[in-house]
Symmetry: C2
Subunit: 351 residues, 2 copies
């Protein structure tokens, strides 16, 4: 079959499995496929286009003859193999945060800054899932009227923390349902731990569930601020609070935006209605607004609840929801690959 | 027994039952108790100080000889009986939104504006649960350095919608756990409705679950803005997005505040540490931050994640969590009653 020799690293994780599904759905021209993961997952079998593929342990050999590698193995795999694979000629699209802020690595949302791909040097970074979700709504507006400041509060699903967090949420939920007294009472940390295995469960709870940066900022908040500025190529001030919520898939973000000039709601609606990858869902009284449940499994970012913010000049409020495993990760990576093919930025497959 | 003749209206609901518990815990001087609700709940039995009380249907007779009535029966009961009970001499503390914005009705959080009780004319309103939660954190700071603008995003538990929403969340959660394919796939509204009974479930989802005001604002957002300005007696601009999250009890609010002058994090921490009713929970690296699970069943508002907001002059970010049935409703109402007793603003019980 004509096409490209492709590797998916971290193919057994929540994002890796979604990458295989999206490559298949979007009929990406895959001539051959190699799937890899850590030693722990080696030997497992995944399915692509109805055929079984055995997962190998990621190593230098994984990238031999491979033109395009999609990395979804987290910072570990990317730090270990990303640069060397790129150096030996494989174009790497990396979903980890390892290289995102490196000056020689384009950080790309195809609908927003696809032009940045032209300068790629075999290593391209996929932005953070919340950054992508926020900018899919913000960039079409920012291009029309520059953003002066944005306040963003995230409502992020547990799948952003990988399959183990999905499993943990569902398991903790079952256990707490069997101990409703804890949910309806005055739970103590040791009681909660005895039931769920942790004093800070994801189920029926809200957590700032990320590593901490100096100054009490979560790593996620830090990423959103800096990635936004790199992608928009402008020092847009972003004030953000990130919160993990007991939802399985899809992140929702509430945006309170201050523009540098007038942007009436109707014009914002028209701009978003015309923006590729965006679906306006904005008829609240009929129950039509972005929800994570209906963003899940879909590639579009759902945008709605557009309304003026009268507390600042040129203020606008809106919410956006997107599947963090798809547009927030796998779909965006595959769209980058498609753009590379379209713009002849990927070496053609050897015959 | 010496004390006051008390009635609790809506005594079978989530807030009404919590009122009875809080009156008991805080040893409010109850000489006699009458409990009422709608006809549907009349005849049920509730317990107070170990004694059974039969619920009667709320009517004019409910208030005969009653000095203090706590209303938790929603807008219906309050609109029907609130004014008339007050007129006939009962002091009414009303948890509904019916009278909150009436000029002759004090809207009171005792720690914030207890002074407003002095002007009461037998009818006092308890603020909205999110308003109380936000202002418990904001008011001590605002008194030191006036707030110029606040952006608030809420993460509100389902019990704010009453016992029926608690039941709905737990039931929908059970049903969706038994149909995980919907959570992990690409659910369609009719499939979701077939499993949960509604196309917009609370479980594993996020909803703007309130009535809509003109302009696409939720009723909850409208209340928070206007109640805040009435309580602070200042036109503080509040930009707010309200979201219902799949948590049983306690609301969490992320605040992005702009002050009119310098307010370093350390000073804010000291002000909040000294504020009555506030508990600082702010050592993130040790897992100490406000979560709804540990706010539940407690009267204190948990405040944490204090950090500078470098995107505006004098910016501060923080989160606050409080039990919406307690400090957000029942505890605040009972504290108002306590303040009335302490300040001799409630007629003494007849001998």
């Amino acid at each position: 079959m004509s096409g490209y020799h492709v590797a998916v690293v971290g193919a057994t994780g929540a994002v890796g499995r979604t990458m295989l599904r999206v490559l298949e759905e979007r009929e990406f021209p895959v001539a051959s496929l190699r799937v890899s993961a850590t030693a722990r997952s080696a030997g497992r079998v995944v399915t692509f286009r109805g055929e079984p593929y055995t997962v190998e342990e990621t190593g230098p050999a994984t990238f031999e003859g491979v033109q395009l590698a999609l990395f979804a193995g987290g910072d570990g795999a990317s730090a270990r193999f990303g640069r060397s694979a790129a150096k030996s000629g494989t174009v790497v699209i990396d979903n980890s945060s390892t290289f995102r802020m490196e000056p020689d690595v384009p950080l790309v949302i195809p609908e927003v800054n696809g032009h940045a791909l032209r300068a790629h040097r075999n290593l391209i970074a996929n932005p953070n899932c919340s950054t992508i979700t926020m900018l899919m709504a913000l960039a079409p507006l920012h291009r029309a009227v520059p953003v002066r400041r944005v306040v963003a509060c995230t409502y992020q699903s547990v799948s952003g923390g990988g399959q183990e967090n999905i499993d943990a949420l569902l398991e903790q939920t079952e256990k707490l349902l069997a101990h409703r007294d804890l949910l309806l009472g005055r739970p103590e940390a040791d009681q909660v731990e005895a039931v769920t295995g942790t004093p800070l469960p994801l189920a029926f709870n809200l957590l700032p569930q990320w590593r901490w940066m100096p100054g009490g900022v979560t790593e996620e908040e830090h990423k959103i601020v800096h990635e936004t500025q790199k992608i928009l190529e402008a020092p847009v001030p972003v004030s953000v609070t990130t919160v993990r919520v007991p939802v399985v898939v899809s992140h929702l973000i509430a945006l309170h935006v201050e523009f540098s000039g007038p942007l009436p709601v109707e014009r914002a609606r028209a701009l978003l209605g015309a923006a590729p990858g965006v679906e306006l869902v904005d008829d609240p009284e009929r129950g039509l607004y972005p929800t994570p449940l209906y963003a899940a499994g879909r590639d579009a970012c759902l945008v709605g609840r557009l309304r003026p913010d009268p507390t600042v000049p040129h203020g606008l409020q809106l919410v956006v929801a997107a599947d963090n495993l798809r547009k927030g990760a796998a779909t965006n990576a595959v769209q980058i690959a498609e753009a590379l093919v379209r713009d002849r930025l990927l070496s053609p497959a050897p015959r």
